[in-house]
């Protein structure tokens, strides 16, 4: 293997030599090389070890289908596992090591077990390591060390990733002749076009054609220039379309910086970008992958696909062998022989068919053996050194093979077993490819709307046919785009024909139009499945699945190809069986004596090729993974030293520790200060829904369990909301602004779902109600002033509201001006203390908060967060929906039957469900209070409850549990079966710690049961 002198259409830049490391040793390549081409140019034959048997493997392909050359690139933050060397563009300073080899590439212990390999067929691990069951963890640990490829990175990714959305009339996948012709034709017609191609530059397989064909070269250059200059066209090279979803959502991964030396990468530019392309029409010009021929030892280094050898020669000027054998079952092998001849190499062609006119080659000294096939490859110094060939005859669909064998020496073996169209994307939306005997391939169904296939995916084998087909597909696609003018549409098809010399003429269709151009046949012969050597014939190179494994699976009665796949691991590797699957299907068909069409394919699912997790996440990582929502007071909370907790997406102050305080100490201080003097809390996060309309009151009566008909303007009421199932869904205080106008508050986390729930009922079930809902959560900011001295503060900051207990009682609200800002002040309480909530437009929220803090200092004001809020409300037995309820708690279960009114004209949501016998069972889990018999013992929330010390039958669990500073003891809320009728009884908690904690069931209102604190100081 070596680099040749300049080839006609090579894509390497000989003026830019690059240096790279492979397995710690320095080598030289050129700009434009892939790692694989540079390795071949440096005569590196061994690139990996196989998954199961540790066999030596070499480069077999030149693109995404590569199964063997999995390498690890770089280290630390740039560590890239399982990169395919064939797709990895070489850059200066690249460091690559093999992704396999235990302990090393040159000496693999799995290979030492060679005498035992014959026992290690498919299913070996399942059968062997079953007994004794308890040893499985030991087996697994050791097997895992032996299996797999590259190591996963152990440090954070140093690079960034992002996404981009695109919209186009036509998206084209593939930049070969079909894709290019389609793009130009569509763009000329006036359509906007996006073309993605996975290689570093467009052209596809056409580059090899250009090497020997001036017309091809000219057409390619002209087409490319026209596309690059076209305003309607966006081309993305290095971009792999990895999924095609419904409504033509095409996902594509662009490698933006992988080809650059580490030092040259811009840290502000994403390494990879996931494009999300929404196109009116999609043209799949994805091409096809060549299949290898099947014979014993077909996995030796030096055995590769014929098309790959051709690409290495024409694109990279790399000769893969001085004495190559080319074996195959279709016409394409002669193209390789011709190209090699141009480079001065006389290959030996072994064609299992007979009848191809190879006179032009044989006259120049190329040996052509028709009616022969390679049946075995022989190793010499770590690579293929000779092949055994035998005569083959095709009768009908059946091959017979002669017993006499002949040995041909060689230093490389290129094979072509036909071509498999890249139907993957077409199949992602559920289409099934169908086997076509003419092409000996599974052809795309292309039966989804607004989708076309063109080029070799449709069986075309020459650039002219592919280009004509692409142009034809574009003409069909633009017909369906309304924004493209009919005049241009009509001329599109004709133009497409004029530009491509030698393209096949369009056939007149029956209805006057044209049919698509007929593909030129490669005369691919049926699959040649040899009888001999199946135990060494590798079908899935990456997972070491042999022909004999497929036989074994069938012998063990796995008949569906999906089962055969899973039993043998056929197609399970990172290459997803791109070269092996169809061969595996052919073997299964042969062994079962069925038609290939009947066996069918396995399911093609996204991703087409592996996609980095970073690209899937894009920019939405770290603090941007989920939105952090802030209240207007956020800056003040930070200045006041708050620790935050996430509630829904909101960042709420959790507690405000002073120097040296932990959460426990801070909460103790905050709670006591609020109960004895003055506390302040930011309540801005609660959901707020403005409800207006003549039927607003009726609407509230239907969505809340309690009564609303008498609530007067200026009043507030606590409301309990159930789902249709009668279970508590949300709660909150609603203020009556006027007879037709209410302001509802919801829980912080429930705001969006409650709003949707209400809108759904209004729009779908009660359209007769004249009610408008508007979310005003963000408009209002809420400062809660809480504690016995709250009134003093309010009187100081607002002089147009009378704050006396008589004139502004609990559960009233007033409109006024607070600190010069228009405000709604609500006297509501979630702590049992005197409490005013000052609601102002968000823009003044922080001003109000800071000013109240300042004025509150004379009353020793204390900020408190959600943790103290939880303690204060638990002391009062107030529930938190989602903590004390879990979607299985009715109002009665929560001991809130007082909030249920069943005599409404129109029943409330959930009312009927509450009358089910199950909703009325006396032994439902009911919300109660718990006292630990040791008052200092704080139960963990979630602790399971049992009736007796020795019991394991759960009767409920702890929902809330705190140390209550004001009571000087622990308190807990819990749901207990039939708990409301068990007051005073002793039950036990069994937390995970293993202790057994005796408890007494008590009322869940622990503090100020007489509500003496509500009006504040006397």
């Amino acid at each position: 293997m070596k680099r040749l002198s300049t080839q006609p259409c090579e894509r390497i830049d000989r003026s830019a030599p690059l240096y790279f490391q492979w397995q710690g040793k320095r080598y030289q390549g050129y700009a434009g090389d892939t790692l694989a081409s540079a390795m071949l140019a440096n005569d590196i034959a061994l690139v990996g070890r196989s998954f199961k048997y540790g066999r030596q493997r070499g480069i077999m392909a030149a693109g995404t289908e590569e199964a063997n050359a999995l390498v690890t690139l770089e280290t630390a933050g740039y560590h890239t596992p399982n990169a395919r060397a064939t797709e990895t563009e070489l850059y200066d300073g690249m460091s690559a090591i093999a992704g396999s080899g235990v302990p090393s590439l040159n000496s693999d212990m799995r290979a030492w077990l060679k005498p035992f390999h014959r026992f290690m067929a498919a299913g070996f691990y399942y059968k062997m390591f079953k007994w004794p069951q308890k040893l499985w963890p030991v087996y697994e640990d050791n097997l895992r060390k032996l299996s797999g490829f590259s190591k996963a990175p152990d440090s954070n990714d140093a690079e960034i990733y992002d996404h981009q959305y695109h919209h186009a009339d036509i998206a084209i996948v593939g930049g070969g002749p079909a894709g290019l012709a389609a793009a130009l034709n569509a763009a000329n017609a006036g359509a906007s076009v996006i073309l993605v191609d996975e290689r570093h530059a467009v052209g596809g397989e056409m580059i090899s054609d250009c090497a020997g064909n001036e017309a091809a070269k000219a057409w390619f250059a002209e087409t490319l220039a026209a596309l690059e200059a076209h305003d309607n066209v966006r081309m993305f090279p290095r971009t792999t379309a990895y999924a095609l979803h419904d409504q033509n959502l095409l996902l594509a991964l662009e490698r933006r910086q992988d080809h650059l030396p580490l030092g040259a990468r811009n840290p502000h530019v994403s390494r990879q970008r996931s494009h999300r392309i929404r196109a009116k029409q999609v043209i799949l010009a994805t091409g096809s992958h060549e299949r290898p021929m099947m014979f014993a030892n077909n996995d030796l280094p030096g055995v590769m696909l014929a098309g790959a050898m051709r690409r290495y020669l024409n694109e990279y000027a790399v000769l893969c062998g001085d004495n190559p054998v080319i074996a195959g079952n279709n016409d394409s092998i002669y193209d390789l022989a011709a190209d090699l001849l141009r480079a001065g190499i006389k290959a030996t062609v072994v064609d299992c068919r007979s009848g191809y006119d190879a006179g032009a080659l044989t006259s120049q000294g190329v040996t052509v053996r028709q009616g022969y096939a390679v049946v075995d490859a022989i190793e010499k110094q770590g690579r293929v050194g000779a092949v055994k060939i035998a005569q083959t005859t095709l009768k009908g669909n059946k091959w017979t093979q002669g017993s006499a064998q002949e040995v041909l020496s060689c230093d490389a073996l290129a094979t072509s077993g036909g071509f498999s169209p890249l139907v993957h994307l077409d199949c992602h939306t559920g289409s099934k490819p169908a086997f076509d005997a003419d092409f000996q391939a599974f052809m795309p169904a292309c039966d989804k709307p607004n989708r076309f296939v063109a080029g070799s995916i449709r069986g075309h084998s020459d650039w002219q046919g592919s280009a004509a087909d692409g142009a034809y597909a574009a003409a069909q696609a633009v017909e369906k785009i309304p924004s493209v003018s009919p005049f241009t549409k009509g001329s599109t098809l004709q133009q497409s024909q004029e530009v491509i010399e030698g393209s096949p003429p369009l056939q007149k269709g029956e209805q006057g139009g044209f049919n698509s151009p007929q593909p030129k046949s490669l005369n691919t012969a049926p699959f040649l499945v040899l009888e001999q050597g199946r135990g060494k014939t590798f079908i899935d190179m990456q997972n070491d699945v042999k022909a004999s494994d497929i036989e074994l699976a069938i012998r063990e009665n796995y008949r569906s190809i999906e089962h055969i796949k899973r039993y043998t691991a056929l197609g399970f590797g990172t290459d997803q069986g791109k070269t092996g699957n169809v061969n595996g299907i052919a073997i299964a068909a042969e062994v079962m004596g069925r038609d290939i069409a009947e066996v069918g394919t396995t399911t093609f699912r996204p991703m087409y090729t592996p996609v980095t997790l970073g690209a899937l996440a894009g920019e939405e990582i770290g603090l941007l993974f989920d939105p952090q929502r802030f209240t207007p007071m956020q800056a003040s909370h930070i200045a006041n030293g708050a620790d935050f907790e996430t509630v829904g997406q909101w960042m709420r102050p959790w507690y405000f520790p002073k120097a040296g305080e932990d959460m426990h100490a801070a909460v103790q201080r905050e709670c006591l200060a609020t109960r004895s003097e003055l506390g302040m809390m930011d309540a801005s996060t609660l959901g707020k829904i403005d409800i207006q309309g003549p039927d607003a009151r009726e609407f509230l009566a239907r969505v809340y369990t309690n009564a609303w008909e008498k609530l007067a303007p200026g009043k507030c009421r606590y409301g309990l909301m159930c789902g249709e199932d009668g279970m508590i869904k949300d709660d909150g205080v609603t203020a009556c602004i006027s007879d037709t106008h209410f302001l509802m508050t919801t829980t912080t986390g429930g705001a969006a779902s409650v709003f949707t729930h209400l809108e759904t009922w209004l729009q779908t079930e009660w359209p007769e109600l004249n009610v408008y809902l508007t979310s005003v959560t963000d408009h209002w900011s809420t400062t809660a002033v809480v504690g016995p001295k709250a009134r003093r503060v309010m009187e100081q900051i607002c002089d147009d509201i009378d704050f006396s207990a008589e004139n502004f009682p609990f559960m009233d609200w007033r409109e006024g001006t607070v600190l010069g800002v228009p405000a709604r002040v609500m006297r509501i309480s979630f702590s049992g203390e005197l409490s005013y909530e000052i609601n102002v437009q968000a823009n003044y929220g922080r001003y109000i908060w800071d000013k109240v803090t300042e004025i509150g200092r004379q009353y020793n004001v204390t900020h408190y967060g959600t943790e103290s809020m939880h303690v204060l409300r638990a002391e009062k037995g107030y529930i938190i929906v989602g903590q004390d309820t879990d979607g299985s708690i009715t109002p009665q279960d929560a001991n809130m039957g007082w909030a249920v009114s069943t005599n409404k004209t129109y029943p409330f949501l959930g009312q009927r469900a509450l009358s089910r016998s199950d909703s009325m069972r006396p032994d439902r889990k009911q919300l109660v209070g718990l006292y630990t018999q040791d008052p200092q013992k704080v139960l963990p929330e979630g602790a399971q409850l049992v009736n007796a010390e020795g019991d394991n039958a759960m009767i409920g669990h702890v929902t809330s549990s705190y140390m209550s500073p004001i009571l000087g003891r622990s308190i807990a809320m819990a749901v207990v079966k039939g708990g409301l009728s068990r007051m005073g009884e002793t039950i036990y908690a069994k937390p995970l710690s293993g202790e057994v904690v005796p408890l007494t069931i008590v009322d869940s209102i622990f503090y100020d049961q007489a509500k003496e604190k509500l009006d504040g100081e006397a």
Partner: protein, 194 residues
């Protein structure tokens, strides 16, 4: 009830008051927060009797679906959904407008809701602003949002309203509580255009 007669110097802040606005202030991407606008939600069915007279009285016109009417300097009426409109107007005129709107719509099933504190209003411009937004928004802002059109969509995970009043920039309304997130993700996504 004591009268203090204190004149307070209230402080008006916007959602991005704390953000470092220089982070998105280059020729490539320039994001500015418009601080002096009020937002009033009008809920009504345009075909209801009396609505056109009421709108005439208010001096505004209801736009068609996805459209807007009026002027950014006075009253810009944006279509949000079949019975929802959002009026953007100078902050100082907001309270009067609300009072007038309520009076004009008296007796008509409707809602007039002040949502002035609900949003941060952003102008997004610069040579790369379309490219930037295409990284964050799945709506085709480049091809399908001409001057005069309004859409409600997402900027990554933040709900936003986009509308265009000039060829070379976009207006974006993001809910107050999401503004910090939207700002930070724009800063991150714009890094490559610095």
């Amino acid at each position: 009830m004591a009268k203090h007669n204190i004149v307070y110097d209230s402080v008006y802040e916007t959602a991005l008051e704390q953000a470092d606005l220089s982070a998105l202030n280059s020729d490539a991407v320039r994001v500015t927060e418009i601080r002096d606008r009020g937002f009033v939600v009008l809920r009504l069915r345009p075909a209801t009797a009396g609505v056109s007279e009421a709108m005439a009285k208010l001096g505004i016109e209801l736009p068609d679906a996805l459209g807007m009417t009026g002027s950014a300097d006075t009253r810009l009426v944006k279509w949000i959904s079949p019975d929802e409109y959002l009026v953007t107007l100078p902050l100082a005129e907001k309270d009067t407008f609300i009072t007038d709107a309520k009076a004009a719509l008296e007796g008509i099933f409707s809602a007039v809701v002040d949502n002035s504190g609900g949003y941060s209003l952003l102008n997004i411009a610069g040579s790369e602003y379309q490219e930037l937004l295409s990284k964050l928004t799945f709506y085709d802002l480049r091809g399908n949002l001409p001057v005069g059109k309004v859409v409600s969509t997402l900027m990554t995970k933040a709900p936003v309203i986009f509308y265009r009043t000039a060829e070379d920039s976009l207006m974006c309304m993001v809910r107050w509580s999401f503004a910090d997130y939207a700002w930070k993700i724009m800063v991150k996504a714009a890094e490559e255009y610095r």
